[in-house]
């Protein structure tokens, strides 16, 4: 038999996602769904984490494991899939709402979205088999488009397990990277040899005017050393959201009956790189190290405010991020090419007052032209 001379490129592969109501948690992804394009730069393959073992058993004189010693089952397994994608205006909210399972929406064009963890609007535990409101609980079916028909794959009821939102001024645009998680690994929910048929076997665009989100902020402030919010010059800032989503239960097919979420906690961490300058340095009242050292027994939290636009979040493309950060180190690079840079790894914490939760841990507000539910 002659070899096949056909060679494929990464552009022949694509990833489509589609939100669905959590009431359909146990419903398998469909091959005629109009999946929407996740515009990844490089398509990754799903990783199958199956239950397996293979150990030599007794009464084997040959000392080599027998084929019958091997055990592998898709039942009880899970699937992960990594991705990296430039953030787009009509996509970023969908991703963030999914990883934090929180979303509020107002307006009708522009739509104003709020995703938050505050003392008055704390993250709520999602019921992954309940009914979705405002797109939450948010679960995705994923269609993996391969070059030829009858080669496509589908993942059922996936949730983003971790998501990093990276604003690096050197990249020029915001990049999202992370991992999808599906607790549906059986042959009836992780579907192979499929032909995704909607839209001439291609995912539709999330927006016909895809607008990438730039890496810049009109307002960027940090209350260094317990003082009032100082203007800072940012070279990069990133946030990583981890929800520890994991499958629970096992139905007759071996698939998850629900997902555990935020157990023991939802973690938001990040890294902030800023210029060592007249506002942030190591002098009294501007000493960023004091936030880390605190009173010697614990550090001091600081408020980080970032805005694209004028802060009103009323025009498509305007973004506000406000969070309370607790630095886990303070690193100075005096040798950076563009001048001395201070880098602060941090975790987001819920501020308190008199011991009780009070104020904003994390709040993301964004205006775009698309509702984030019902897609």
């Amino acid at each position: 038999m002659a070899v096949s001379g056909k060679v494929y490129s990464k552009s022949d592969f694509s990833i489509g996602i589609k939100n669905k109501n959590a009431t359909a948690f146990e419903t398998a992804a469909a091959n005629d769904t109009a999946y929407e394009l996740l515009p990844v730069i490089n398509v990754s393959a799903p990783v199958l984490n199956l239950v397996e073992s293979g150990e030599i058993r007794s009464n084997n004189a040959g000392m080599i494991e027998l084929d019958t010693d091997q055990f592998r089952t898709t039942k009880g397994g899970f699937i992960t899939m990594d991705f990296e994608v430039p953030a787009e205006r009509d996509m970023i909210v969908r991703m963030l709402a999914n990883v934090l399972q929180d979303h509020g929406e107002s307006g009708s064009g522009p739509y104003v979205h709020t995703i938050q963890a505050t003392s008055s609007a704390a993250l709520a535990r999602p019921d992954f088999t309940g009914s979705s409101t405002a797109g939450v609980p948010s679960i995705f079916d994923i269609g993996l488009y391969y070059p030829e028909s009858a080669q496509d794959k589908m993942l059922t009821s996936a949730v983003i397990q971790s998501l990093t939102m990276n604003f690096d001024m050197a990249d020029g645009r915001c990049l999202l990277s992370g991992t999808f998680y599906s607790g549906m690994a059986s042959s009836s929910k992780f579907l192979v040899e499929q032909t995704l048929s909607a839209n001439s076997a291609a995912p539709t665009l999330m927006s016909t005017s895809p607008t990438q989100i730039e890496s810049y902020f009109d307002v960027k402030k940090l209350d260094v050393d317990g003082q009032t919010l100082e203007d800072i010059v940012i070279t990069a800032v990133s946030f990583t959201f981890e929800n520890n989503v994991a499958r629970v239960g096992r139905d007759s097919n071996g698939d998850a009956e629900s997902y555990a979420f935020g157990i023991p906690s939802v973690n938001i961490t990040g890294e902030l790189s800023i210029m060592y300058d007249g506002n942030v340095n190591f002098e009294a009242t501007r000493n960023i190290l004091i936030d880390f050292l605190g009173d010697g027994t614990s550090g001091t939290r600081a408020t980080l405010k970032l805005q694209q636009g004028d802060g009103t979040v009323s025009t498509a493309g305007e973004m506000n991020i406000e969070c309370e950060i607790y630095s886990t180190a303070v690193n100075l690079d005096p040798n950076a090419d563009t001048g001395a840079v201070i880098t602060i790894p941090f975790k987001v914490v819920q501020p308190t007052s008199s011991g009780a939760a009070s104020g904003t841990a994390f709040k993301f507000e964004y205006a775009d032209s698309t509702p984030s539910s019902g897609w």
Binding site: G109, P110, S209, T211, Q308, G309, D310, S314, T315, A316, G317, E318, A367, S369
Partner: protein, 66 residues
């Protein structure tokens, strides 16, 4: 009617707007630009704010009586 840009147009990608590029550039430069109804509707859907320019009525000059 002519309008002046207040906020938000700089966040939009001109190639995705049906409003002519020239008008967008003039608005962003702080100019007073004649806008059609469909331009205003497009701006409203995005939350872009523009302000109509009100022309002050010409004062009647009274002739001095000798």
């Amino acid at each position: 009617m002519k309008y002046k840009h207040i906020k938000g147009l700089q966040l939009q990608k001109p190639s995705y707007l049906s409003t002519p590029n020239q008008k967008i550039r003039e608005l962003l430069a702080g100019g007073e630009v004649e806008l059609e109804k469909e331009n205003l509707e497009e701006f409203e859907s995005l939350g872009v704010q523009v302000q109509p320019i009100k022309k002050e009525p010409k004062k009647k000059v009274k002739k001095e009586e000798k």
